[in-house]
């Protein structure tokens, strides 16, 4: 049990800086998800916390102690790897016990902890099998078990679910979350999947290009994204973004007034979430629909704005079969769902 502090952490490989100073304070027992596209530095950041990468600048503290110079084993952490990294020649039991054996724990305590973890993860029947004889989900559980038996202060997860099929992923997502809240261990979880981030996180760190774009609860990030990147990365389907203009207290796209907005006259980036657009015969926005994707509960419509020709995606509840392709449709958006960003640096303009 411990909190985890990142203070202006930077990473350089040679002269290239890949992480440009990330700071975060993670409370005891919190489940934090670091989310971002490939190559944004999220795994590197995690590996720095684990001690597998050196820290070029800044400081990482676990339970109030600086750990920059400590070996992974002395940091009181446990890590779950993307490909599980189970020792292929050891049984499930030996895999879980290995860390404790090295730490020189007495045999009966090792047995007790392994038994406990395997009960928690429903692995009791598989303790004497080799990893090769297990399914993907079971291997994932063994990897979790290996982390749990260490009773660490911090759990680190490096995209642990990305090798599983979609259904199992949903199930394991719940299991991991449930387990973590039961054990109450501070966790840092890296993923590129924004659904995982939304569903699992107490708070998430949205990373892009080695910078933490936003740190906040999933709903915070969804409702008030601080940057254009966070806005587009979180939410599915992605937010529509148009080049707009603030003119006389209203935001315009081309000649169309989308809604009221405060601020001095200036060009802006206008963000509208597909699910916030509602069909409205009197709406000011008009689009030509080119394709529909009925998903059952809702329908995605893809088309182009009549005014500017920009691509736009709408998500309407229920089934909307579009028989006549190229039909035009009018819709509107509530003012509170209008997101405005500075076109120069992508920062959110006050809403």
């Amino acid at each position: 049990m411990a909190d985890l502090v990142l203070h202006n952490v930077k990473k350089r490989f040679g002269r290239t800086e890949v992480i440009h100073g990330v700071s975060a304070h993670i409370q005891d027992g919190e489940f934090i998800v670091i989310v971002g596209p490939s190559g944004c530095g999220k795994s590197t950041l995690l590996r720095m916390v684990a001690g597998l990468e050196s820290i070029s600048e800044g400081e990482i503290q676990i339970a109030g102690h600086r750990v920059n110079e400590k070996e992974p084993m002395d940091r009181d952490i446990a890590m779950v790897f993307q490909n599980y990294a189970l020792y292929p020649h050891m049984s499930v039991r030996q895999n879980m016990a290995y860390g404790l054996k090295i730490a020189g724990k007495p045999k009966d305590e090792i047995d007790k902890r392994v038994a406990e973890a395997s009960r928690l993860l429903q692995l009791e029947a598989y303790l004497d099998r080799r990893p090769r004889q297990l399914s993907g989900g079971q291997r994932q559980r063994v990897a979790m078990g290996r982390a749990i038996v260490r009773e660490p202060s911090v759990f680190l997860f490096d995209e642990p679910l990305s090798n599983l099929d979609a259904k199992l992923r949903v199930q394991m997502r719940l299991e991991i979350r449930e387990l973590q809240s039961r054990l109450g261990i501070t966790s840092l979880y890296v993923t590129h999947d924004q659904v995982e981030a939304m569903t699992m996180a107490d708070r998430m760190i949205v990373m892009n290009d080695g910078v933490a774009e936003q740190i906040g609860t999933p709903l915070d990030v969804y409702e008030t994204p601080h940057t254009l990147f966070a806005a587009q990365f979180i939410g599915s389907p992605a937010m529509n973004v148009f080049d707009g203009e603030l003119r006389g207290g209203a935001v315009n796209v081309g000649d169309i007034v989308v809604g009221p907005a405060a601020g001095p006259d200036a060009p802006v980036k206008l963000g509208l979430r597909p699910e916030h657009l509602t069909q409205d015969p009197n709406g000011t926005l008009e689009a030509v629909i080119q394709m529909s994707e009925p998903l059952g509960a809702n329908t995605l419509l893809h088309g182009r704005l009549t005014a500017t020709g920009d691509a736009i995606t709408l998500s309407l509840p229920g089934v909307h079969l579009v028989n006549d392709m190229n039909a035009s449709m009018r819709f509107s958006v509530e003012p509170r769902h209008i997101h405005l960003f500075d076109p120069a640096d992508g920062k959110r303009l006050t809403s």
């Binding site: 084993m73 490909n83 990294a85």
Partner: protein, 294 residues
């Protein structure tokens, strides 16, 4: 009908394999049997010669079927031999072959581990140096090696037989290739688990390489067993003879007659240990050459 066709489909060899039926099947078997007979015939002759008396061998025509002197000849070979009992030579060969096989594997495992998992100055250069020595067979460096061994006073000793042949670029190279296929995460997981490098080596790397180790053990045991030139150079006392060179030493130098039954019995005895090693480790050997366990 449909069922029959299904059965037929199951019997057919998978596509890509050459199908052989009827007369061609017999022909291929005939060719194989003839081939085996040709290869096996000299060994058969040696065996026959080891079971008859000296007189029978020298008198033409040569006997083609075993005689009744089997026990007599082998007893003579093992316990008295010509210069030295064959049992001694067998023991010497065993020590040398085991020493070379185990030594080569131990050294190359450790050096491959160093090259793959540690970053130190001159790492690449050292690797290429090892790799280049692949091109130098024992015979090329035999004179300087003899100088060194003689200088250390290792003539007529097991150390002298084993040490000059113990370094292996081949095995180092093979283990390096294998280690590089072990995922990095495994090393990292071990690090997080608290394993220091040598612990990781002993607990993870070595057990994972065991099929490769078995395959190389077979190859190097036979390599060591079959050494001829080197033992011939450095062992001058009959007590230190190894069996492969010892057979040659059994031939008389002057006008004496060769004791053929004993020599042939020795030859057969010399063949047995490698065969036993290959057969007993066959399963691991094939697995080690074909796939690796990951």
């Amino acid at each position: 009908m449909g069922e029959n066709m299904n059965k037929q489909a199951q019997l057919d060899p998978p596509p890509g394999m050459v199908e052989k039926r009827g007369s061609r099947l017999w022909l291929t078997h005939l060719l194989m049997i003839v081939g085996i007979l040709v290869v096996f015939f000299p060994i058969w002759l040696a065996f026959v010669a080891s079971t008859v008396t000296q007189v029978e061998i020298v008198r033409p025509p040569m006997p083609l079927w075993p005689g009744d002197q089997f026990l007599e000849n082998y007893k003579r070979a093992i316990f008295s031999g010509v210069n030295v009992p064959v049992a001694t030579m067998l023991f010497n060969s065993l020590v040398m072959a085991l020493g070379i096989a185990i030594g080569k594997i131990a050294i190359s495992l450790i050096s491959a581990f160093a090259i793959v998992y540690f970053r130190f100055p001159g790492r690449t250069m050292l690797f290429w140096l090892i790799f280049i020595t692949l091109m130098l067979p024992v015979e090329v460096r035999i004179v300087p090696t003899y100088e060194v061994v003689a200088g250390f006073g290792l003539l007529n000793s097991y150390s002298g037989l084993i040490f000059p042949l113990i370094a292996s670029a081949t095995a180092t190279f093979l283990f390096r290739q294998f280690f590089m296929t072990i995922p990095d995460e495994l090393a990292e997981a071990a690090r997080v688990d608290g394993a220091r490098p040598m612990r990781f080596f002993v607990d993870i790397v070595v057990p994972m390489s065991r099929t490769n180790i078995a395959a190389l053990f077979v190859i190097f045991f036979i390599y060591g067993w079959n050494q001829y030139l080197w033992p011939l150079l450095i062992t001058t006392e009959p007590d230190m003879n190894t069996i492969v060179m010892g057979i040659k030493q059994m031939f008389p130098s002057g006008d004496d007659t060769a004791d053929w039954p004993v020599i042939m019995a020795t030859s057969i005895l010399a063949m047995i240990p490698p065969v036993v090693i290959v057969i007993s480790m066959q399963k691991l050997f094939v697995r080690g050459l074909v796939d690796s366990e990951k």
